[in-house]
Structures are given as structure tokens and as C-alpha cells.
């Protein structure tokens, strides 16, 4: 008894495209594109590295618990070790003191790897437009999916992870190095240059325009005329 006997249609039917192309006259062969197989394997066994720092982490735990059950999507095991993780879920605010830790964890994760920025604080700093807070983790690590919300519901996180799965589905092994390239010079360095970080983290709403002077120059060091300690 071949494998084909166990499959619907006895494995003799030719299906169209993608996985499940059983044919070529023999029920014991499975033909598909290597991309399909590899991406199928990758996207259905994503192990998340939970980097939960705040209330978003509670929702992340809820997403992993039985009501929502992240394991249905292949995130069977929360990998608390970056070496065995595929997708970094940064859930919560990241202060500057924690930035090198987050960056170290990202650098320790083996390729291929993906990153989800969960919630307003991880994505943009959120309401914490203050001295101590990273204004969006995309200045520290490359982010694939941003999940909005404060915090996002578990459905939101699951949808974000399904978007990661969709992204993986469209990757091609032939363009592996294009997708997965890492610049060694960027290890433990900001992802973006100075102008870009200031642009990304620029003031919103009624925040003060502290970084840029009237002539457009970026303030690198303390301005002697500004807030002199008494």
C-alpha cells in the first residue's frame, strides 16, 4: 500500500499547482517546487521568541493560551532561547537601557528570522515620547509586521503572525540571500542613519521640536542655551 492510497482520490488525480500535486502516474511520488516545501515547513513551524516587556505581553500570553491557541498556526512552543527561535515578538515598550539587549537577542537568532512589533509602544514609542524610551524598535531591529493596538487583542497578534506566514509563503529560495542578507557592519549599530531616526521618531502632535533647530540642524549635544541647569 502506497502513500497515495491513504490520500483523498487515491493519489491518482492530478491537482493544480502548489502542494498536493500527486501525479506522474505513480501514487508514491509527490512532486512540488522546493520553494513550496521549504516555505510550507518554515511557515508552519514558526517558533516565537517572546520579548514581552509590558501589557502587550499579557495579550501575547493570552494568544498562546487555550482560548486563542497560537499552536494551531505552528507556534507550538514559545522559544525562550533566541538560538532556537524564528520570529521575535517584541511586545511592549523598550527603554534605551534595554535596546542593546533586544539587539543582542535579534543578532543571536539564526536566519531565517522574522520580527513582529506588537503594540503602539514597540512600533512607535506610543505615548512614551520621553527621554528613556526607544521610539519604535525599527530603529534597533528590522521589523516585518507591525501590530497596532494598545494593547492589540490576541486576534490582532495572530493576524500579524498569519501575515508573517503569508510573507514566508512568497519567499523564494533562489532569492534567499536577497531576502535574508545581513550587513555585518550593522551588528550592534542602529538600523537607520541619523536623519532617518530623527524622521522616524520625530515629534507628533504638540510635542516640542527638540531635535531639529530652526535651520534644520540636528542637535547632537546639549544646546548651551536650552534648559541650563540652575
Amino acid at each position: 500500500m502506497g502513500l497515495g492510497d491513504l490520500l483523498p482520490g487515491g493519489g491518482t488525480q492530478k491537482s493544480e499547482g502548489g502542494l498536493g500535486m500527486f501525479g506522474a502516474g505513480s501514487p508514491t511520488f509527490l512532486t512540488t517546487k522546493i520553494d513550496e516545501v521549504i516555505n510550507w515547513g518554515r511557515r508552519n513551524s514558526l517558533w516565537p521568541m517572546p520579548f514581552g516587556t509590558a501589557c502587550c505581553a499579557i495579550e501575547m500570553m493570552a494568544a498562546a493560551a487555550s482560548n486563542f491557541d497560537l499552536a494551531r498556526f505552528g507556534m507550538e512552543r514559545m522559544s525562550f532561547s533566541p538560538r532556537q527561535a524564528d520570529v521575535l515578538i517584541c511586545a511592549g515598550r523598550v527603554p534605551y537601557k534595554l535596546a542593546p539587549v533586544l539587539r543582542r537577542i535579534w543578532d543571536q537568532m539564526p536566519q531565517p528570522k522574522w520580527c513582529v512589533s506588537m503594540g503602539a509602544c514597540a512600533s512607535s514609542g506610543g505615548v512614551f515620547d520621553v527621554y528613556s524610551m526607544v521610539q519604535g524598535i525599527d530603529t534597533i531591529v528590522p521589523v516585518d509586521v507591525y501590530v497596532p493596538g494598545c494593547p492589540p487583542r490576541p486576534e490582532g497578534l495572530i493576524y500579524g503572525l498569519m501575515m508573517i506566514q503569508e510573507k514566508i509563503r512568497q519567499e523564494s529560495l533562489g532569492r534567499h540571500f536577497e531576502h535574508r542578507a545581513e550587513d555585518p557592519a550593522l551588528v550592534a549599530a542602529p538600523r537607520a542613519d541619523e536623519e532617518e531616526i530623527v524622521g522616524l521618531t520625530g515629534p507628533f502632535g504638540n510635542s516640542t521640536h527638540q531635535e531639529k533647530l530652526a535651520d534644520g540642524r540636528i542637535v547632537r549635544s546639549p544646546d548651551p542655551n536650552d534648559d541650563v541647569p540652575v
Partner: protein, 224 residues
């Protein structure tokens, strides 16, 4: 007792109108420690008030703070053996930074708040770690966020901000909300931190004396 009885009874002591915040030389509190402090230390007691209904606050001379706090801890009539909190307040506008000691006597079941006004050009006061070990990290926090130097502290390093933080002391009123450096500079400095140096295994030893770590790194000082 029914839920509406509280309404019938009228306002609780803590709902009483707050007295002035600056204290008075004449004294307003009937707290037994206040009279004892005045009798013992005289001029070093700069004022007292009752705050929020039942919280007695005493302003003392920072130059004699260690002497007074030692007496408050050890005198059989006081016995303030629990230092609940050491914190700081900066009112801005060039006014003095105040160091606040929130204490409780488990013997006499009394709470007392001691405050010391420190002028901005002399932000230093004696450490009370020798009296209450629990004040160690609290004083580090006040040092980190307000820049108050605690003389005699065994391990006066930053505790919340990164060790090499160079923008100053963030809870001071003259500190800009978003820090002194640009976001790009802050990001660059953050990623350049030497993580191993600040999160070494010594820091994680449970029950280890934090004082032993002191020799490893000097407190990074800088007003930016």
C-alpha cells in the same frame, strides 16, 4: 455597618482641608515625635505640618539629618525602625530639591515623614544606609534621578538609567522631557552600551551584597 453610614458620619480626617505645604515654625501637629524632636534638637527642626489629614511632616536641617534620623531610629520613645521610602522632590524654579524620608515605627505604630531642603548648589546629604539597609537602592534612585549625592553611601551608582547616561538627572525640572540628545544620538549611545559590564553575573547573585560590586565601575557623572 451599612454603606451609607460613612456619608452620615461626614468627612474623614484625610478629607480635611490641607494645611500649607511649607510648614510653620510654631508647629501644627500633635504628633508625639514632633514635640520630642523640637525639645531635643531645637533649631534644627525647621517646621512641621499635617498633610492630607493625618500625615505629619517635619522639615529638618540637612546638615544635622544623620544625627536626627539616628535618634529617631534608636530612641526608645521613637523607634522608627522601618524606612518605607526615600525619595526626592524638585519643585523647579530654582527652589531647593527636597529629600523625603517616609518612616514607620513598628513599635509605636506611628508614621512620620521627614523632609530636608537642599539648595541646588549643594545637593548633598548624609546617607542613611548605615541605619536602614533598605535605603541603599532608594538613595541610589534619588541620586540617579535628582542628582543628590549621599555622603557615605557604599555604592552610589545609577540604578534606573544606564550607567554611562550622560544627559543628566531626568526628574529634575530643568531636564527636557525628551532628553538632551537627539533621538539618533540616544539610539547610538544605547546600542553602544557594554551590556556585559552592567549586567554581569555578580549583579545576579542572589543575596549578594551590592556593595561588593562598587569597585567595578565608577558612577558615570555628567550634566550633559
Amino acid at each position: 455597618m451599612g454603606g451609607l453610614d460613612a456619608v452620615e458620619r461626614g468627612p474623614l480626617p484625610s478629607d480635611a482641608s490641607a494645611t500649607s505645604d511649607s510648614g510653620s515654625a510654631a508647629g501644627e501637629s500633635d504628633h508625639p515625635s514632633v514635640a520630642a524632636l523640637r525639645a531635643k534638637f531645637g533649631d534644627a527642626i525647621q517646621g512641621d505640618t499635617v498633610h492630607a489629614g493625618d500625615q505629619t511632616v517635619v522639615w529638618i536641617d540637612p546638615a544635622r539629618s544623620l544625627e536626627i534620623l539616628t535618634w529617631l531610629k534608636d530612641d526608645p520613645g521613637q523607634k522608627y525602625d522601618m524606612m518605607s521610602d526615600v525619595t526626592g522632590v524638585d519643585y523647579g524654579g530654582g527652589r531647593p530639591v527636597e529629600v523625603v524620608y517616609q518612616m514607620f515605627s513598628t513599635t509605636h505604630k506611628r508614621a512620620l515623614r521627614i523632609r530636608c531642603k537642599l539648595p541646588l548648589d549643594a545637593l548633598e546629604i548624609d546617607s542613611v544606609v548605615g541605619l536602614w539597609v533598605g535605603a541603599n537602592w532608594l538613595e541610589r534612585e534619588v541620586y540617579d534621578l535628582f542628582g543628590v549625592t549621599f555622603k557615605g553611601h557604599p555604592d552610589l551608582r545609577r540604578i534606573l538609567m544606564p550607567q554611562d547616561y550622560a544627559e543628566g538627572h531626568p526628574l529634575r525640572k530643568d531636564f527636557p522631557l525628551r532628553g538632551r540628545f537627539s533621538r539618533a544620538e540616544q539610539t547610538r549611545r544605547a546600542l553602544a552600551q557594554d551590556v556585559e559590564r552592567f549586567y554581569g553575573p555578580e549583579e545576579l547573585v542572589e543575596g549578594g551584597a551590592p556593595q561588593q560590586v562598587a569597585a567595578r565601575s565608577e558612577p558615570a557623572e555628567g550634566e550633559g
